[in-house]
């Protein structure tokens, strides 16, 4: 087994991997940019190395520097997490060339699935159903013509893409020109490649994905599905497992197709095959993510399988601990991505210093968090600062626990997506599981009933504090009542005999 693993990532996922290593008795090495010296992953790892200035291109994307650190620190493996270098076949190869183990799939599998066109061709041969669309590399004019043939709405997608970058939905020919331009610009910036293609929009479709585990000995199993249809501009906001739209028969059918897709590229490690599922239980291959995913915890909670620890065991050459028939779904898990974004202002990123923080706990609640008191939330990295996962015996209990935990979450200093999530869980369509990937386009959050009451409280408290400050100015020393844990306000009420209860 590995003695020391370097985690080539930051934030909550770096912590997640550090914890898995600690539970397996493996030492951990963190890397950090100037923006992350005080970050949790630096503090919770056994060792930490500085790798560059805040921009990712000068730190977390510097594969060469990271491999040097791994060699210097005596690490024998590198876990890339998600994002950054996780789906960079060149990096995976360079890690191997340096004599280290890359905890993830083989470079060839990353490359095959990384190019969306190659991926579609490869899995199609293995019998995986595809969505109608164009080949990549067409000109804007050709794409415009193809779109008319496929029929609007169409999706513009980046050939090298992922994570919604460079992706646009277009409803009419008139919007095509600006959408193609924006998609190409984003793709070029994000991936250094502005090749795009079109895909038919499957209407009323859900985003359902299958988690895969594959070892080096040809064993491939799936851990059931995740439902990720609650998306905003192709960014997932809420994920759950299982899906209300998937019964056991469909689960095994989709699972078998996902396993076939993985086998088509000789996949090894954890991976996810994403599908669109329409109302008639037809499903189409979207893409395969050749890495650990943000939403992996919901699968862990309903299967009892620790996916990160399995990845480490697989990378060590061990055969899978589980057979397909050992995998059972029990209960329901829902994840809410807590981002530093302002849901009242079009999800604009919010920056600032975290001045108060108390994360929810209690039955059925799991937190995967990279946020801490005193943290400076900036614009260098992804705005996701924590994940809140609620588990329940059934979907209703999971939703109720999620709502309870969201209400309990205390965070101040930045705006977060929590108000969005609180609104969502109170929406009947969400509660009934009646949604598709376009749900948020027309979604109106329920009106907050207690806004006026909260405003009144904020006004009152501000006046009380200003008043208290005025009074303290003429007082000397510490207030006696306060020393006993009593506020000056209750003391005053007591003294005046005005309290309403004994």
């Amino acid at each position: 087994m590995f003695q020391k693993i370097l985690i080539a990532n930051r934030g909550e996922i770096a912590l997640r991997i550090i914890r898995a290593c600690q539970e397996r008795g493996i030492k951990t090495v963190a890397v950090y940019s100037d923006a992350d010296r005080s970050a949790l992953h630096v503090r919770y790892a056994d060792e930490a190395y500085h790798i560059g200035p805040p921009p990712a291109s000068e730190s977390y994307l510097r594969g060469d520097v990271i491999i040097d650190v791994a060699l210097q620190a005596g690490a024998d493996a590198i876990h890339p997490g998600y994002g950054f270098l996780a789906e960079n076949a060149g990096f995976a190869q360079a890690v191997q060339d340096a004599g280290l183990t890359f905890i993830g799939p083989p470079p060839a599998a990353i490359a095959a699935m990384g190019d969306k066109v190659t991926a579609r061709e490869t899995v199609a041969k293995a019998g995986v159903p595809l969505i109608p669309g164009t080949p990549a590399g067409l000109s804007d004019e050709e794409l415009l013509a193809a779109a008319a043939e496929i029929g609007y709405p169409v999706l513009v997608k980046a050939s090298a893409g992922g994570g919604g970058k460079g992706m646009r939905m277009v409803h009419a020919a008139a919007e095509m020109k600006s959408a193609l331009g924006a998609a190409r610009r984003e793709a070029l910036k994000a991936f250094g490649d502005d090749t795009i293609y079109l895909e038919k929009v499957v209407e009323g479709a859900r985003h359902v994905e299958i988690q895969i585990l594959a070892d080096m000995h040809g064993n491939v199993i799936h851990l059931g599905e995740r439902e990720c249809s609650i998306q905003r501009r192709h960014q997932k906001l809420v994920e759950e497992s299982p899906s209300v739209a998937v019964d056991e028969e469909l689960r095994q059918r989709m699972g078998a197709v996902a396993v076939a897709a993985a086998k088509a590229v000789n996949y090894v490690s954890a991976g996810t095959v994403e599908f669109l599922l329409d109302k008639n239980k037809n499903f189409y291959f979207l893409e395969m993510n050749t890495r650990l995913q943000v939403e992996h915890p919901v699968t862990e909670m309903v299967t009892g399988v620790d996916i990160v620890k399995e990845m480490i065991a697989i990378a060590d050459g061990r055969p899978l601990r589980l057979r397909q028939e050992d995998v059972r779904i029990k209960g329901w898990a829902i994840e809410a991505r807590i981002t530093a974004e302002d849901p009242d202002n079009n999800f604009m990123p919010s920056t600032g210093t975290i001045v108060a923080l108390r994360e929810p706990t209690g039955p059925g609640i799991r937190i995967e968090s990279g946020v801490y008191l005193g943290m400076e939330v900036g614009l260098y990295y992804d705005p996701m600062i924590a994940k809140l996962i609620a588990y329940g015996d059934n979907r209703a209990e999971a939703i109720l626990r999620l709502r309870r935990a969201l209400a309990e979450f205390r965070i101040a200093g930045v705006k977060t997506s929590i108000p969005f999530h609180l609104g969502l869980v109170d929406t009947p369509r969400f509660q009934w599981g009646q949604f598709d990937t376009r749900f948020l386009e027309t979604y109106k959050p329920p009106v907050t009933e207690d806004l006026e009451e909260k405003r009144r409280i904020a006004a009152l408290v501000s006046a009380m504090l200003l008043h208290q400050r005025g009074q303290q100015a003429v007082r000397i020393g510490r207030d006696g009542a306060q020393a006993e844990g009593m506020s000056p306000w209750r003391k005053a009420a007591l003294l005046q005999g005005l309290r309403r209860l004994v």
């Binding site: 970058k165 924006a182 610009r185 984003e186 910036k189 994000a190 501009r233 302002d342 079009n346 604009m348 990123p349 919010s350 920056t351 001045v355 108060a356 008191l373 614009l379 992804d382 705005p383 969201l406 979450f409 205390r410 101040a412 200093g413 705006k415 977060t416 929590i418 108000p419 609180l422 907050t448 806004l451 909260k454 405003r455 009144r456 409280i457 904020a458 006004a459 009152l460 408290v461 501000s462 006046a463 009380m464 504090l465 200003l466 008043h467 208290q468 005025g470 009074q471 844990g485 506020s487 000056p488 306000w489 209750r490 005053a492 009420a493 003294l495 005046q496 005005l498 309290r499 309403r500």
Partner: protein, 175 residues
């Protein structure tokens, strides 16, 4: 002592009398017990026995109060003080109907989609701003005429920076 607190343009009158023992909000008496819980600005309020937690940050002209997931910027002053400020503010007020277009976040200006003097309808895209590696469109919140564009493509802007002014139709015609 009488205080005026302003939030989102709404004014509340709070009276605190008899050595803190009598508290009225807009004339209505309440029982309020406020206690600072930790040195960082976390407070516990019991308002007529209803419990709530708040985070309070001091600001130049009042407090930023976070209650659950909501954040309010509160301007508070004693009555006399606030009236004086209001009078001062009136003098320097902008021409009525002018609306500064600001960006809520720092970012990089990718494109400016309008020119000065151009009439725009509500929802017209004005600027493309890149932040967090995503392109975000800043749109016109109302119809008007573009004035005083203070940015250009390639320029980085701070949060809350004014990008341009959206002027009133009439104001421009008469000038």
């Amino acid at each position: 002592m009488k205080y005026l607190a302003q939030i989102d343009g709404i004014t509340y009158e709070i009276e605190i009398e008899a050595n803190n023992a009598i508290i009225l909000i807009n004339g209505e008496p309440v029982e309020a017990d406020l206690l600072q819980v930790d040195p960082l600005g976390l407070y516990s309020l019991l308002l007529d026995h209803r419990s709530c937690e708040l985070v309070v940050e001091e600001q130049t002209q009042g407090y930023r109060v976070t209650l659950g997931a909501q954040t309010f910027d509160v301007r508070v002053a004693d009555e006399r003080q606030l009236r004086m400020e209001a009078a001062r503010a009136d003098v320097s007020a902008r021409a009525e109907g002018d609306m500064p277009i600001t960006t809520p976040i720092p970012g990089l200006v990718v494109k400016v989609l309008v020119t000065e003097g151009q009439h725009v309808e509500e929802n017209t895209p004005l600027v493309i701003l890149e932040a967090m590696k995503m392109e975000n469109e800043i749109r016109a919140p109302q119809a008007g005429v573009v004035r005083d564009i203070s940015i250009q493509p390639g320029q980085s802007v701070e949060g809350n920076a004014v990008l341009m002014i959206l002027g009133q139709e009439n104001a421009v015609v008469s000038s």
